[in-house]
Amino acid sequence: MIRRWRSQYWFSAAVCLLGSAALVASAYACLLIGVDFAAAGFSLLTGVVVISTFGSYLCAVVLSVVAAGCLSYFFSPPIFSFRVEEQDDLMALLAFLTTSIVTTVLAARIRRTSEEELRNTRAELARFARVAILGELTASIAHELNQPLAGLVSSGDACRRWLGNQPPNIERANQSLERIVRDADRASKVVERVRGLAKNTPPQKAAVSVKEAVREVIVLTRGELEQNQIRLEEQFADDLPLIWADRIQLQQVCLNLVVNAIESIKDLRGGPRNLLVRAEKDASDSVLLTVSDTGAGLDSDHTEDVFNAFYTTKPEGMGMGLTISRSIIEAHGGRLWASGNVPRGAKFQFTLPRCREGAI
């Protein structure tokens, strides 16, 4: 929670104000107890370092100055005045101020760097998982790319023949050309999607249509579905609100769930081979996405285990897919959970809050 507030201006202001008040109060308390200059300086320094861990660089500087002020006001003679008469006291105050600023700024910088690194590592990990899924889908993607290319080559050949006829059939040749353009466009869209998923871009939230985003990536699994004789059903409600999300990460989660479902159906012998992807609006106006399959299913007592890192049932799996998916959904303010599908198989569901009007 604090991490989210930290970037807000009001939070820094509050830390400065409350921190300053605390410093003044403790300096006054020290005076009442009868602590000397050095001990008071040490306790104020400790206070500044502790309080400024909540705030920004600016907080650190402001609090250091306030603490130095307190020290000068309460402890350097004449007391209850900011005037400093002794050269030694002035030096001591300056030393205090420098130490305080340097320490707090360094602490803030270390914290910021480690947070940035954590964020980068997470993004890297997510991207790594995305590329891993793409790797699993290579054959399927190749298939999806090969279809329009096959159409393109055939239409090209046909076009040449229409033009070579005596007399040339311009109308049919034009139709062939139109198909060539359409198929080339389709192929380039596939490439674009794959590139989007493989690209190394920081997460960027925007208003996203769940239907569009999900459909775009499900297409990439079509070859895999056909090869494994899996029947895919897609149900998208008409009244789906836009959601505020990083499109690529949303697609990653969907792809992950669909690929898992395919894996669980793949080696089944007998029984239905169905996969359902459904998106609807739930009671709290969020979008609820369900991916359910008639595959091997989950161990009913340990449905939560699948979200643990390194939990996997695949021989070549890393066991990170669902862990990453859950952290992505949670970072979007949603929830991802698993349950059993009736009469058989597994069901994964996640919610994503709708895009608020003002957010666009």
């Binding site: 190749a142 096959a150 046909a158 139709q175």
Partner: protein, 208 residues
């Protein structure tokens, strides 16, 4: 005699691939009907004409290989040309074993597609002519009386009239009359031709 116009069926679930094939076949003047799924084909219009099926191995619902079996069961004897995005060896072996005449990989080479389709149409034409001949023979065979059929069955085994007469307890003269009737009705010119017809009709197995 002018040839019956052929008809080619294309079954592929992918619109781009399907329309491309359709276009190429039409550009050489072949009539084409195409379908997006196995089911559409089974319920779709069919014309009694020599032709072949260009079939995608991967179809949603029923795979191309299963579909080929369904066709055989349904008595649709059209030659099948398989096309696939990934020409994997086990699949093509299975396809060829179950009687496919060609296995092509996408994107298709124009000439190999046309060659395969023409070969398919030709094979179907020959098969149809063969079966037309048999049904004609069968019609002629239907004209024979039960007694004549008995004599026919014995004549084609190469037995002399005398033996046939003895076996059927007829006079040799009667056998001769039957024999000339049989030859006339079956429109055969020699005993050898009669024997061949019996073969086609599957009578040789019935000889006692």
């Amino acid at each position: 005699m002018s040839l019956e116009p052929p008809l080619v069926f294309v079954v592929d679930d992918d619109a781009s691939a399907r329309e491309g094939i359709e276009d190429i076949l039409q550009s050489v003047g072949l009539p084409v009907i195409s379908f997006g799924s196995a089911r559409e084909f089974l319920h779709g219009p069919r014309r009694d004409a020599p032709g072949c099926i260009v079939l995608d191995v991967r179809l949603p619902g029923t795979s191309g290989l299963e579909f080929q079996k369904i066709l055989i069961e349904a008595g649709i004897r059209l030659p099948v040309i398989f096309i696939t995005g990934h020409g994997d060896i086990p699949m093509s072996v299975m396809a060829m074993k179950s009687g496919a005449i060609e296995f092509l990989t996408k994107p298709l080479r124009e000439q190999s597609l046309l060659d395969a389709v023409n070969a398919g149409i030709e094979a179907d034409r020959l098969r149809r002519e063969g079966s037309k001949h048999v049904s004609e023979l069968r019609q002629r065979f239907e004209l024979l009386t039960p007694r004549e059929r008995e004599v026919f069955a014995l004549v084609v085994t190469g037995r002399p009239n005398k033996q046939i007469a003895a076996q059927l307890e007829l006079s040799e003269m009667t056998v001769k009359v039957h024999r000339s009737q049989i030859t006339k009705k079956m429109r055969a010119t020699s005993i050898v031709e009669l024997a061949r017809m019996a073969d086609r009709l599957g009578l040789s197995a019935e000889k006692s």
